[in-house]
């Protein structure tokens, strides 16, 4: 590790810390219906939205109504996204003529299963991409379907978090807010302004924003190269702030038009974390005990640092086999050393490791390097981050929900050890909460493990409909444990609604499109709905007054307990799978066994 690399990480966390409170205060006011400094500008638009949509601002919903609204909204969004993808050939803003008779050679056809996968992926804030944007989608689809979903799926995530926080904050209440109002406010007051600022900043650094067709240029060597174009900066900005992660281009944030400079790279990472971090503060404010919010922030920070400082040294150490061959793998003033395979030279090892950790801590899934090319341990970190449930700051909304789920479990198990039935933030944790938390945990584990299990051994007819390459394991790029990790990573990422790809897995076949889509849906709704049920149950409870007999949930002890619960539950669930993937690969690498690429994927356009 280099001093500048470590400094990069530390400064990142400090800047995040500085942003947490202001944003948290703003969001608290916003979602409690108080006036904010943006009200003079946005309030009229908000009111107009309510009038147009027939939303009654002052009505509140029970958790069941709240959940039903969310599902209805997601279903409508899904249908809209699916239909316009299928119809992109006859819709405007399609200068590259995708899905028409004039489609360029090499363009990917928009099949029903790919459209399903993509629609599900964007409606659930996952942005798993089984397509290459620049060779598949029209600008109209990119903007009207994908970018819109980037906003509203993120806003829906924030809405649900706010509802859950209300569950802790309210007492003997039967409602947890109004989904439509929360959704509107999150979109208008939080995501629009932040992404507008972000887009302008990215443009200033060199990100592109236009409606031109892809241009063909002659390179210095005389070869011809296609340079993709499009309204990139606007989608890029919300992709980060909304922790969506779906790149305009396949290369995602590694592409110079999406993420041109080390500065944009730094800001992009902040954009991922800023809202989730703000939500921890909002939690503390709304439950009237700020220390509770900071405790969550602290637990997340520790897990974040642990992740980075496993990933970064592993990447910097690089492959011992290369060192044995006499290659210089130490960082020097003229070269970065370590494992630079699949990393952008303008970011280097620390900023790439940091990005990989951040994007999987949160449910973002944007990438600025190829996770598949990381060392086994370096790649284990993003994978394990997602398996923990993306509770480290997490995606917009998803992180705090997951962390609160673990807080409920931690309090339930260890809270008994202070001689009281468990309580958290003054709320008794009883059957219903435990049942719902366990339900979510079980379904998440089942989702990842069962689909990965089937795909590791399932057999399909070669050149058949379901999986043309043949067996499901034939779609992977590498043999051995590394190939297994590619499958495990895909279902882990979709279940966690992350959307980052380990890559190396060709997912655009009906089998993977459907199962990854299903994993995404299960990961989204079978997590959110139980958590809304928890919110409903908690809101209805009395608040137990705090005494010296109460388990303190704001000190270092609790932070440690929470971290322990997260790590142990995650490790116990996934250790067998991980031991057959990155862990054994790591040991094999040390013994000199590597797993080369089986065939070459058209990764770069």
């Amino acid at each position: 590790m280099t001093a500048i690399g470590i400094l990069n990480i530390v400064v990142f966390l400090l800047v995040l810390l500085a942003l947490t409170k202001p944003l948290g205060v703003f969001m608290t006011k916003l979602f409690q219906g108080e006036r904010t400094f943006l009200h003079p500008v946005i309030r009229p638009i908000e009111k107009l939205t309510y009038r147009l949509c027939g939303i009654r601002e002052d009505t509140e919903q029970r958790w069941t109504q709240y959940a039903a609204s969310l599902i209805a909204f997601s279903l409508a969004s899904f249908l809209f996204a699916y239909i316009i993808q299928r119809l992109q050939g006859i819709l405007p803003f399609n200068p590259n003529h995708f899905s028409t008779a004039h489609a360029p050679s090499g363009a990917t056809p928009m099949t029903p299963d790919l459209a399903f996968n993509t629609a599900v992926s964007f409606v659930t804030n996952t942005n798993w991409q089984n397509y290459f944007g620049e060779t598949t989608l029209s600008y109209f689809v990119q903007m009207a379907a994908l970018t819109v979903q980037n906003f509203v799926s993120a806003a829906a995530g924030v809405a649900v978090s706010v509802a859950l926080i209300r569950g802790f904050a309210r007492r003997q209440a039967n409602s947890i807010g109004n989904f439509w109002v929360d959704l509107t406010r999150a979109t208008l007051y939080v995501f629009l302004p932040l992404s507008l600022l972000g887009a302008l900043f990215l443009c200033s650094q060199g990100a592109i924003q236009n409606f031109k067709a892809n241009t063909t240029v002659k390179t210095v060597e005389g070869a011809s190269q296609i340079i993709p174009q499009g309204p990139v900066a606007s989608q890029e900005s919300i992709k980060m702030v909304g922790t969506n992660g779906g790149g305009f281009f396949n290369a995602n944030s590694a592409h110079p038009f999406e993420n041109p400079t080390p500065l944009t790279n730094f800001v992009q990472m902040l954009m991922i974390f800023v809202i989730p971090a703000g939500l921890t503060y909002q939690f503390g404010r709304m439950v009237a005990d700020r220390r509770q919010g900071w405790a969550l922030f602290a637990a997340m920070s520790v897990l974040f640092l642990a992740g980075v400082f496993v990933c970064y040294p592993a990447e910097q150490a690089g492959n011992p086999q290369l060192t044995k061959l006499g290659l210089e793998t130490k960082a020097t003033s003229v070269q970065p050393g370590g494992n630079m395979e699949g990393k952008e030279v303008r970011f280097g090892i620390p900023a790439s490791s940091l990005f990989a950790t951040v994007t999987t801590d949160a449910s973002c899934g944007a990438i600025n390097g190829w996770h598949d090319s990381y060392t086994p341990i370096g790649g284990l970190v993003p994978l394990f981050n997602m398996q923990l449930g993306e509770v480290v700051f997490g995606g917009v909304g998803a992180g705090i929900k997951g962390m609160l789920l673990f807080a409920i479990l931690a309090v339930f198990i260890a809270g008994l050890m202070v001689g009281r039935t468990p309580e958290y933030i003054g709320k008794k944790i009883e059957q219903k909460e435990v049942k719902m938390a366990m339900l979510a945990l079980i379904l998440m584990a089942a989702n990842v493990l069962v689909f990965s299990g089937i795909s590791s051994v399932a057999n399909f007819k070669k050149n058949g409909y379901w999986n043309p390459p043949g067996p499901a394991a034939a779609n992977i790029n590498n043999d051995g444990p590394h190939g297994f990790t590619e499958i495990l990573y895909a279902y882990t990422s979709t279940n966690a609604n992350n959307g980052s790809a380990f890559a190396g897995l060709n997912g655009n076949t009906p089998w993977y499109n459907l199962t990854l889509g299903l994993a995404t849906l299960i990961g989204r709704f079978f997590f959110i709905i139980p958590m809304l049920a928890v919110a409903g149950a908690l809101a209805a409870k009395k608040k137990v007054p705090v005494t010296s007999g109460t388990l303190p949930t704001h000190g270092a002890l609790f932070v440690g307990l929470l971290i322990g619960t997260v790590v142990i539950v995650g490790a116990l669930t996934y250790f067998p799978a991980l031991s057959l993937g990155p862990i054994v690969e790591h040991f094999l690498m040390r013994e000199g066994k590597l797993f080369s690429s089986l065939f070459s994927l058209p990764i770069w356009s």
Binding site: L409, F412, I413, A414, G415, L416, M417, V418, G419, R420, T421, P422, G426, I429, E430, Q431, V434, K435, M438, L439, L441, I442, A445, A446, L449, V450, S452, G453, I454, S456, V457, D479, G480, P481, G483, F484, V544, P545, T547, S548, G549, L551, P552, L557, L561, I568, L572, T573, Y574, F575, P576, A577, S579, L580, I583, V584, F587, L588, R590, K593
Partner: protein, 705 residues
Amino acid sequence: MATAVAPPPVVNDGTELLPKKLVRARPLFDPPILKRAIRESFVKLNPVTLMSNPVMFVVEVGAALTSVFVTRDAITGEHPIGFTLQITLWLWFTVLFANFAEAMAEARGKAQADTLRKAKTETMAKRLLNSGGKVEELAASRLRAGDIVLCEAGDNIPGDGEVIEGIATVDESVITGESAPVIRESGGDRSAVTGGTKVLSDWIKIRITSNPGETFLDRMIALVEGAERQKTPNEIALNILIAGLTLIFLLAVVTLDPFALYAVRSAGAGEVPSVAVLVSLLVCLIPTTIGGLLSAIGIAGMDRVMQHNVLAMSGKAVEASGDVNTLLLDKTGTITLGNRQAVEFIPVDGIEPAELADAAQLSSLADETPEGRSIVVLAKAQFNLRGREVHDLDAHFIPFSAYTRMSGVDLDGRQLRKGATEAIVRFVREQGGSVPHNFMDVSDRISRSGGTPLAVADGGRLLGTIHLKDVVKGGMKERLGQLRNMGIRSVMITGDNPLTAAAIAAEAGVDDFLAQATPEQKLQYIKREQTEGRLVAMTGDGTNDAPALAQADVGVAMNTGTMAAKEAGNMVDLDSNPTKLIEVVAIGKQLLITRGALTTFSIANDVAKYFAIIPAMFMATYPALGYLNIMHLHTPQSAVLSAVIFNALIIIALVPLALRGVKYRPQAAEIMLRRNLLIYGIGGIIAPFPGIWLIDQIVHWLHLA
């Protein structure tokens, strides 16, 4: 003042809330109990009953599965069965050990019940016909509520009831375990009698209040036997948690099969782990420790309450007592000794204090009441007046009577009297003496401060007043301080006026008090606490306490109390010692801590088991995973076997802890959590490493695998 039976002194060194000597304590491994438990362990293998314990049910299914494979292999002779057979046996042991833990807890309850059942021998009752006084003999089992029976010396009381006439001493040791007889009489708060107890002297007429099979003794037997045991809310929630974890591990192990298949195919070496190995991994991972001990902890908690001579009507009540935020404590008998003590001699003008003290002492020499003795003590302490030998004085003592409301001594022609102010004033006037006009002021002042004035006269000469005062029990302040550390507020309930109440409250260190409390005010106070989210515990004995007892989350009725009170509360203290409330809270907490500690321990244990089994499973496929074999276990088989053996033995090893409960000290939550997390969390992660290593050494040494 019904101070009834003096409570046995509480052994307390100031750091423990739980006294060490218990009336019904029983050695942990009593041979008859042990025998019964071992038998029951096998009966409990019945899958239908085991189904209610999802964790152990999964283990049993796993054991059955491996049994099938062992049998198959034994018949076909294709594979050596030594390893699978050992795994199978240990899996069955795991189930048996868990059954044994539960059976032990139950057997202890059953043993208690057997003792009680002896009291239920068929007795004959003397039923009174009409009011004519004719007596009819019939079997106690034929009595119905409303019947009136006569019980004379030597008779067993045939059923629960209310004394309507007479007074008698009753031996209630069957119920209370306390051999000293108690007095039962009609009217007031000492009128309740319990079926199965025995009249020792005199006679009483009883109106029977319960039908056969529904008596207090019947309920008590059912409760200690665990026949009516229902899972408590927290226990159900914990069951959901461990069942959920079991499902997660089931998923992790079942999907390991295809993962392993992929690995074997791609590495081209080794084979997919056998069913026995997969089942072993599953059993080691699922929380068998807490799954096997959970119900034992609950039953043992109830039993522990019983050992403290408190009968809890439900496990829920015991659990709730751990959660209590507010304790309502009756002043008399709980906070104060209940007996007033002399603290000051206040002579009337013109009388020397010493003379007053002398007269007071003389009049109290034969007075064996605590008040009387305290006067003698005070006289000696203040004026160095020695207690004189009563017989040497040729004195004639006049005992206290409710009619005269005074007592005293006739000595050398002097008539020394002490008693209620009005009574003495009347006596002085009758003797021709006069009463100073400001005399009543003194006694009024004492009354107002919460004390009791006792006037003293020598014939017609009024000497002065003795100030009797409530005395706070020794150590009470410390105990209430401990409660405060645990986050529990203590509230003193008293009929005294607010001034007096405040004085005693300050002295005892309670957090709040309710003065001149009526039963309605008590009820209101409880309701108000509850709306603020607090759980309230209280004790009570009178019929007018019943609504408050029913409203409180934990209502401990005194056994000497009325039937109405006993039915309203959810616990009955057979010693009728109101201070017991504090112990009940401690037991409730201990129960919850034990549960949490063993759950944490159980889950923390899994880490080591992975390190034992995962490398063993894939030794042939991926020898590189041998790096994870940090315990350096000898062979893959011995590694798996050692983990399974450790997993089974830990259940047995923790049975005593589950039955006794973890050590409990009254401490603030944070300190307690840190300590328990260190022992059961961190300890739980570390302990299996040396444990499994040691078993592996033995397994290797014995050439078992």
